[in-house]
Symmetry: C2
């Protein structure tokens, strides 16, 4: 059976990365002439033409938006997609979704595949591996091809395009302020290691909120969970780490940078005999199904995934349908507002 060779097959045969093949075919300066020659020879052998369909479809619109997300078993990303769908559908656009699974190669392959005439523009949240590698050539080149991109959540300063973000620092400040206003004296944070940007930014917001309230920072109250990418092990590990942290510190409130950390910490606190919220209060970040159905229901920061999705679709469709040639320069960054959803893990605010 004849197959259309993909970037991946060529990469495998030459024992180079997908990124190298992609760059070589686009005549990138980063790639040696020798490698370019080899890649071109293979591409020719296989009759592989990047974006051959796209060329034939030039100016032909598909009325389809391509969405590329890092993960699908993740409430936040699925709510963003549902927001994109709602807006796109009511404006005559269809949506197809590709997954990077946090892999750089998969992100490059997905962009390449969908840019082949299947979609008019992209909405994308980049993979962790892409952030780590800092290799953004696939995004630059997609934009150069004339295909607009809207980035959300994990956005890059280096890419000039429309963006939808949450202000992580301001939102964290708001969450910690809520705990302080509700009478907490010793507020801890359960966060990620610093290399995960959302964890780093949310920790920064926590520190700023303490400063604003003239509370001295106690480094022991900052618990950084290691993300070892092994879901089951991680879970055990997580519980043990949090229990030790609670045992060795006097804490009357916890801000957790995601709902899993918050739920796990609530379980550990219950097992240690704490009453929630009388002895210890909790606020989580990201309002998912876990928060809503937790026992007791968890007070959280809502990231408004649906709103982010519909804003992203709106920016992209406006750009696709704009007839204003000067629009090109006029990229927007929309900061989506967050709210505190008060449930039963916090006390009433003293100030209210």
């Amino acid at each position: 059976m004849r197959q259309k060779p993909t970037l991946k097959i060529i990469a495998k045969e030459l024992d180079v990365s997908v990124s190298t093949v992609s760059k070589a075919l686009r005549d990138s300066k980063e790639i040696s002439d020798e490698t370019k020659e080899k890649v071109r020879a293979f591409a020719k052998l296989y009759n592989y033409k990047p974006n051959n369909i796209a060329l034939s479809l030039k100016n032909k619109k598909t009325k389809t938006l391509g969405v590329i997300i890092p993960e699908i078993v993740h409430h936040f990303f699925t709510t963003v997609i549902s927001g994109i769908e709602d807006y796109a559908n009511s404006h005559g656009y269809n949506v197809i979704v590709g997954l990077s699974n946090e892999s750089f190669d998969k992100e490059v392959i997905n962009l390449e595949m969908l840019a082949n005439g299947s979609i008019d523009g992209f909405i994308i949240s980049v993979a962790k591996e892409t952030l780590a590698l800092k290799d953004y050539h696939h995004l630059f080149e997609t934009i150069d091809q004339g295909i607009p991109i809207v980035m959300f959540d994990r956005v890059l300063d280096e890419i000039i395009c429309d963006k939808i973000v949450v202000d992580d620092i301001a939102t964290s400040r708001k969450a910690v302020q809520k705990l302080i206003d509700s009478g907490a004296k010793k507020v801890g944070i359960i966060t990620t290691e610093d290399y995960v940007s959302v964890g780093r930014l949310r920790t920064k917001g926590y520190v700023e909120a303490l400063q604003f309230n003239n509370i001295n920072l106690d480094e022991n109250l900052i618990l950084k969970i290691e993300d070892n990418n092994k879901p089951q092990d991680e879970l055990l590990h997580l519980e043990t780490q949090i229990k030790n942290y609670l045992k060795h510190n006097e804490i009357d409130a916890i801000f957790a940078v995601n709902e899993l950390y918050a739920i796990t910490a609530m379980k550990a606190a219950r097992e240690l005999g704490y009453s929630i919220p009388q002895d210890i209060q909790f606020v989580g970040f990201t309002d998912g199904v876990l928060s809503k159905h937790a026992f007791p229901p968890l007070t959280t920061v809502s990231q408004h995934g649906k709103a982010m999705g519909s804003q992203a679709a709106k920016l992209l469709i406006n750009r696709l349908e704009s007839t204003d040639e000067t629009e090109d320069e006029n990229y927007k960054t929309v900061v989506v507002e967050t709210d505190i959803i008060e449930r039963e893990t916090t006390l009433n605010s003293n100030e209210s």
Copy 2:
């Protein structure tokens, strides 16, 4: 800006359904000659050629699988996708996902769009509306075009293709048997109205398990929740309905056909002063994040979404890569085994 007119635009202009346009363009006998003429005239006016790219790409393989699911904010479907991804990626295939949002029109449009040369085959779970309309022409025609389909979860007897299913009746019997073996005398079921096939089949399994154990059926112990498609209202409604049901019946165990019903019933039972599992035991269907992190953690039936996904991808890729011409006739239905995951809402079995 020139746009490629979609089925939807033609349907809108002629004030007929997408299904009618799709059928007319394929010269279906169900459509009057007059309508066909009008549709063709519009299609010609817009220079619309169904599957024009597909024709030009004949025999060209994309190494991409198209997945069409009814809903994305749904743990089961996202785990199925992650199973499809794992298998497909490790076999050199990419995956793109389209959503029907339970709408027949969107399902037709997604199939049409992706069949235009973007994918080699489909994995699909049909929309509720398609089931209600019993209009399957888009599936028949996709298969006729030579594009293989694998159906999962919501499958149709009328479509001859590879299928992946869970045996709902046998699984429910297993769940109810677990409760009886753990000492329950009055087992109730919280289920859906009968028009939802999974609810109907799971209720059938419940009834069979009682019969098998010579327990008389008490119709009052079957609570059928009305699905009114208004999430927030539904939730309140759900809690009230379940509380009334618990108040007016002596029940010492509940089998719930999904985890939301189970979690809501546990909350209601706690509020009525029951101890879980001493006074009342619970088993849920579908093992999602809610079950794992419930208080106490919920004993559930695992549907093994990941296994279903990887089985579906395997069947599809085998068919795509098969060189055996007789394979065509040899469609398989794979029944994925389910397990009971014992957590803390059930007592130890008497028999264990």
